[in-house]
Assembly symmetry: C2
Homo-oligomer: 327 residues x 2
């Protein structure tokens, strides 16, 4: 399936507060400032909210696309974290841009760390079906408030950040999206989760301990569960697209962790300069990782118009996903 | 825009525990058992979870559609409440159906009380673009755990329940969806909200009082904010579809409250038997209200194949939305 859809603008931003690994890790666990999970620095929100960071990324994307906010027909907030349990975070974004008098439709899509990829698939179909003309996707994550300081592999791994892309039909260009592929493996659904805060362990009824409001992950068990499935998934994806993963001029993976990225690069026989890596500088920014990495690759000139790019990753769920694009 | 998409199966369910208004309301506030918000009975979850109720509704929809779970290409969970803050509730549903060995992609869509309508729009586009063939939408809400007993207009209004619809391309029928229309008015975003539990008032960092984890709504302010906008929205919608709202054989509104339904019926000159009302029996079931009402109308024979139906409603955000369908 080919979607004649173009990414006409992008923007990314991070909170003001930069946190170095040497501030939060024992000195003997660092190698040249990088912790065992592959992170040297990350940004953690203080004053910022999901919607304020998202709004900033969106305004940068609008500038880059050279269009006005008023031209947007739909705003999709594609993230795993949020301002409030209700309403959606999408409807909070216009407030930060003094656009709350407008009536642009808003919705949230959540596919954990792959929310941006799912939103791309949805947006591409909505544009192809002429339902909407110009769509903004905003991924904005604040993971830092849900990290347990006593769980170093979580506390040292995650960062906050936001990215936004504007999409439109590609009438006069070769830009396109193609070959969306997602698989969810529910057996792994509770290998990475936040136990309390939903209806299973409700804040009021159950009164759970603070710990259960933090992100729970056993990195090794997740990696073990995912690795074989990822190998098969990538082989199937190569069959689907009729070429090898290492033939893409740039691969933008989810920045899950150092080990997962090393495995991904090795098993797909990728050269390191072919892969966009931002883990060391930004940490794992949940669903914002892929669009932040993509935006940075475009802004640095690593990805140019016409380049073939693969976006790929894993998410709590556990879901694996990929999409090919000609930028 | 017309989407040749058919609702090939539906199912709905509620928790076991039935709660009568006389159990939770002062006797002098009831009229023949109905409270001032229009509710006589609602169902409140005890053992049930969002995903277990959703799975039950989905299995009923599969039975009605006469297809196997294995034929599903995508599961969209379209609701405002959830099992866990992470991962998505969609990926929890297969567990209840002993289908967790399968790899069906899963994602969550949240547009507050209009989640089902937004998911319909997304699913219709995904089917039209041949991205997926058979899609299940599941709306399952447990509002009861987030209700403040000291806020009678909230405590007396909401119920829990779930509904599911299966969608496919309508090759050999006249069934279709058309004229999706959504407008979000961010000025009203915080007129109905759950203040704590997201990143704005995080459970750990801010340690908010229990009250702030409950649904906050000032019914009159919401109604005042919404009424004029709804009038204009419906007039615009009549222009868009080229006919009057009261020409639909059945109108299925969101079951927001007694006052909002009375206003809606009156201002659109609808006959009461033209409108599917389930508020008295089930309460306001958030995003599950519209699909539950639609499923009940189909199951009772009030809506037959070929009938023209309007789904319409309001949501926190504040969003107004509508879609026309030929069943």
């Amino acid at each position: 399936m080919i979607y004649n859809v173009e990414l006409i603008g992008n923007g990314m931003t991070v909170p003001k507060r930069k946190v170095f690994s040497h501030e939060i890790t024992k000195e003997n666990e660092l190698k040249k400032g990088v912790n065992p999970y592959g992170v040297r620095t990350r940004y953690w929100a203080v004053e910022e909210s999901n919607s304020s960071l998202g709004a900033e990324a969106l305004s940068l994307a609008l500038l880059d696309a050279k269009i006005e906010y008023e031209e947007l027909d739909l705003i999709i907030y594609a993230s795993a974290t949020y301002d409030y349990p209700l309403p959606t975070t999408a409807c909070m974004i216009p407030k930060h841009l003094n656009k709350e008098h407008l009536e642009t439709p808003c919705m949230d899509i959540n596919a954990s760390c792959l929310s941006f990829l799912s939103a791309l698939e949805v947006a591409a179909s909505l544009i192809l079906s002429s339902t909407y003309k110009t769509i903004a996707i905003v991924s904005s994550e604040i993971a830092s408030k849900s990290l347990d300081p006593n769980s170093p592999e979580v506390y040292g791994l995650f960062g906050d950040g936001a990215a936004s892309f504007i999409l439109r039909k590609s009438n006069n260009s070769n830009s396109k999206l193609s070959h969306f592929k997602f698989k969810t493996y529910p057996k792994g659904a509770l290998l990475t989760y936040v136990p309390a805060g939903g209806n299973i362990q409700h804040r009021i009824e159950e009164n759970p301990a603070e710990k259960w409001f933090t992100f729970q992950m056993e990195g090794r068990r997740v990696l073990k569960f995912t690795l074989d499935k990822f190998k098969i998934f990538m082989k199937d994806y190569e069959k689907l697209i009729g070429k090898q993963i290492n033939s893409f001029s740039c691969v933008v993976p989810h920045q899950a962790s150092r080990l997962s990225l090393e495995f991904f690069i090795k098993s797909n026989k990728l050269k390191e300069n072919q892969v966009q890596l931002i883990l060391e500088d930004y940490g794992n920014c949940v669903a914002a990782s892929i669009p932040m990495a993509l935006a940075l690759a475009i802004q640095s000139g690593k990805i140019k118009r016409g380049d073939e790019v693969l976006l790929v990753g894993s998410a709590a769920g556990i879901t694996l996903g990929a999409v090919s694009l000609v930028f």
